[in-house]
């Protein structure tokens, strides 16, 4: 399948220093502004671009080591863009009780990736998540931020890789 013809357009712009500075400026004066800054940068660029590191350190008077420490501590923040679609599958106990392990094994197998990996065509990234609060209608998953309950592998894969 010629992947390039069917892929949705990349909506994330290339990192631009001016845009980075504008985002950081939105948070000046807030108490504890680093996480909101990182979330907004990731929202704009699909990841926290390296070009933003120096401006963040300058704005908050923290070292690059401190910034690296924060970015690498949290599962949410990424150093590189994901695939066009992000599928998160819950691995927690409540979903395990209704077959989450079989589900994730099947989805990963169908897409030919491991946890945290992206399909070679750049279409789908699959990540584990530990509880979406959908514990009474599991196994649960999230597709590009939208919740799914009582998930079946075929339907989930069809949604992102038709």
């Amino acid at each position: 399948m010629p992947a390039s013809q069917t892929l949705p357009p990349d909506t994330h712009a290339d990192p631009d220093l001016g845009e980075v500075e504008a985002i950081l400026a939105l948070h000046s004066g807030r108490e504890g502004p680093l996480l909101p800054m990182l979330h907004d940068l990731q929202e704009a660029f699909g990841h926290v671009p390296a070009v933003a590191h120096a401006p963040i350190c300058a704005a908050l008077n923290i070292t690059r080591a401190e910034l690296h420490g924060v970015i690498s501590f949290y599962h949410d923040f990424r150093n590189a863009p994901t695939g066009r679609h992000v599928v998160k599958i819950c691995r927690s106990e409540a979903c395990q009780a209704v077959g989450a392990e079989a589900l994730s094994g099947r989805v990963l197998g169908m897409l030919g990736v491991g946890w945290g990996e992206t399909t070679p065509d750049g279409r789908v990234t699959v990540e584990p998540v530990y509880c979406l609060g959908l514990c009474a209608c599991g196994p649960a998953a999230m597709v590009d931020g939208a919740v799914r309950g009582r998930v079946r592998a075929e339907a989930l894969v069809a949604e992102v890789a038709p």
Binding site: G32, P33, E93, V98, C135, A136, V147
Partner: protein, 504 residues
């Protein structure tokens, strides 16, 4: 015609948006005018999407509602569930904290007020701060996030701490598997949380609040943020109801770290640092956010405050038993026939909740074990099903009630595998501060793999490791991971025994 459809994430996950589209399309085709009100969920998740239609002032339920049911609904030929509030699962509850959830449009402040909203805040504004704290003490309310610390005593510590700036921080980083009460409350009745935080602010002299909300709950984030804006525009926040007392708040989004549900780690995260646990003392009540006195309370604790002030501490304390006063929203999940949220006074037995209220497993197989209190909670085999639901009762049975999530497993559950998962989860989520947690969890996974491979001597090592983690960790992550592991080992020892017979 007025039709209610939940906007709760669980309803959406089961197709509520498609249902709304189908109803609108069908109504349009028939030239009918319908008003669709988006509510929270009633908490009967096995019936979602649960559509309700008002008939003679009573809301009748239809669910699980498929988009193809829309035509039959308007024809009057769709079989319904009758009045929603007479469904036994709902009718048996004592809904105090969740009284409005599922009934009202969560973002309609007038609807909120029409159902008792802001009565508590108005009453608190007429009291002096010490009396407000006293009322919370009298209610017997204890932290609903898991630790069960008396809320009024925490508030008193912050109230009497001298400081020019204090904070109310709501811990909405509910990451325990099997729990969704915080999410359901925030998506279904966000003004209750806002009102509770405003009362807390008035009580302790704090003018700023933060809700630290986990990023795994995008729908709750959206509703909470919108509700804060509405409350600010309406003068509930800011100059609180024109009283001259100031309180405002902000929603902050977490970043996927489970350990940030621990209060000191949460405070570090809120400050923009790694979510590493802090040693206590100093208590956050004295040196919390940015080193200032801070009330850190769970969503349900804060959201219960308005009803305490609306109906009085004595009314609230009349529910429950022993030192567990009031109600607890139990969340029954996993392999469950009738899963959802069941708010009830403390005291019911675990078995009654699992078998009687919830009908046992969805698979129809026998219940093997339930895990109570999230990934750090103990497994309870059916032999312990007579344990009463209460803080002390669960402690006495070697477990914890935690955030009151109950995850049901049928007889196909692999207890050794679940014990291994508890260790694996601890290894993934450890903040790294304490060695017993950071290294111990990794060794725990390896030791359980040795047991699985038939190494009988490894069991002693596992018990020793659990003791070390329990005694040597600062917070509940390392300290309580031994609960699921040891409870599985003690109650299902045959699954941890070396499988020599099979090998020979």
């Amino acid at each position: 015609m007025k039709i209610y459809v939940p906007r709760d994430a669980a309803a959406k996950a089961l197709g509520a948006e498609d249902v709304v589209r189908a109803i609108m399309a069908e109504a349009g085709a028939r030239g009918l005018s319908v008003e669709i009100v988006r509510t929270g969920t009633r908490g009967m998740i096995w019936l979602e999407p649960l559509v309700e239609v008002e008939q003679g002032g009573v809301r009748h339920g239809y669910g699980p509602f498929a988009p193809t049911d829309a035509a039959a609904l308007f024809d009057g030929s769709l079989e319904g569930l009758g009045p929603v509030e007479e469904i036994p699962f709902f009718a048996r509850q004592d809904r105090l904290t969740f009284a409005r959830v599922g009934r009202i449009d969560p973002l309609d402040l007038a609807d909120y007020e029409a159902h008792g909203g802001l009565v508590g805040l108005r009453r608190a504004l007429g009291m002096d701060a010490a009396a407000v704290v006293e009322e919370v003490k009298d209610s017997g309310l204890r932290g609903r996030g898991g630790a069960g610390f008396p809320t009024g005593i925490k508030w008193e510590t912050v109230r009497t701490a001298p400081s020019p700036r204090k904070y109310i921080v709501c811990n909405a980083d509910e990451g325990d598997s099997g729990t969704f009460a915080d999410r359901m409350l925030m998506e279904g009745d966000p003004f209750t949380l806002i009102e509770g935080m405003a009362i807390a602010g008035i009580a302790v002299g704090a003018e700023q609040g933060y809700v630290y909300l986990r990023s795994e709950y995008p729908d709750a984030i959206e509703v909470m943020q919108r509700a804060v804006e509405i409350a600010r525009d309406a003068g509930v926040l800011g100059d609180v109801l024109g009283s001259g007392r100031t309180f405002d708040m902000e929603v902050r989004v977490g970043a996927g770290a489970y350990v940030c549900g621990e209060e000191t780690s949460l405070l570090n995260s809120l400050e923009g640092k790694r979510g590493v646990v802090r040693a206590k003392p100093p208590l956050p009540a004295l040196e919390g956010f940015l080193g200032r006195p801070t009330v850190v309370n769970n969503v349900i604790s804060l959201a219960t405050v308005p009803v305490i002030f609306e109906k009085g501490a004595a009314h609230y304390a009349a529910f429950g038993q022993g030192r567990s006063r009031g109600t607890m929203p139990f969340q029954i999940a996993g392999n469950v026939k009738h899963g959802g949220l069941f708010e009830t006074a403390f005291g019911m037995s675990l078995g009654q909740l699992v078998e009687d209220v919830c009908g046992g497993t969805a698979s129809g197989r026998p219940v093997k074990a339930v895990q109570v209190g999230g990934p750090l909670g103990a497994y309870f085999g059916t032999a312990k099903f007579d344990t009463a639901l209460g803080y002390e009762e669960f402690d006495g049975a070697g477990g914890l009630i935690g955030h009151a999530g109950v995850v049901i497993f049928d007889d196909t559950a692999d207890m050794l595998g679940l014990a291994r998962f508890a260790m694996e989860f601890c290894a993934i989520e450890s903040c790294g501060k304490c060695t017993p947690c950071r290294i111990g969890a990794v060794r725990g996974v390896e030791t359980l793999d040795r047991i699985r491979a038939g190494d009988g001597a490894a069991t002693e090592l596992l018990i020793d490791l659990c003791d070390t983690m329990k005694d040597g960790s600062l917070c509940a992550l390392g300290g309580f991971t031994p609960y699921p592991v040891m409870s599985a080992l003690r109650q299902f020892p045959e699954e941890f025994a070396p499988a020599r017979e099979a090998a020979e």
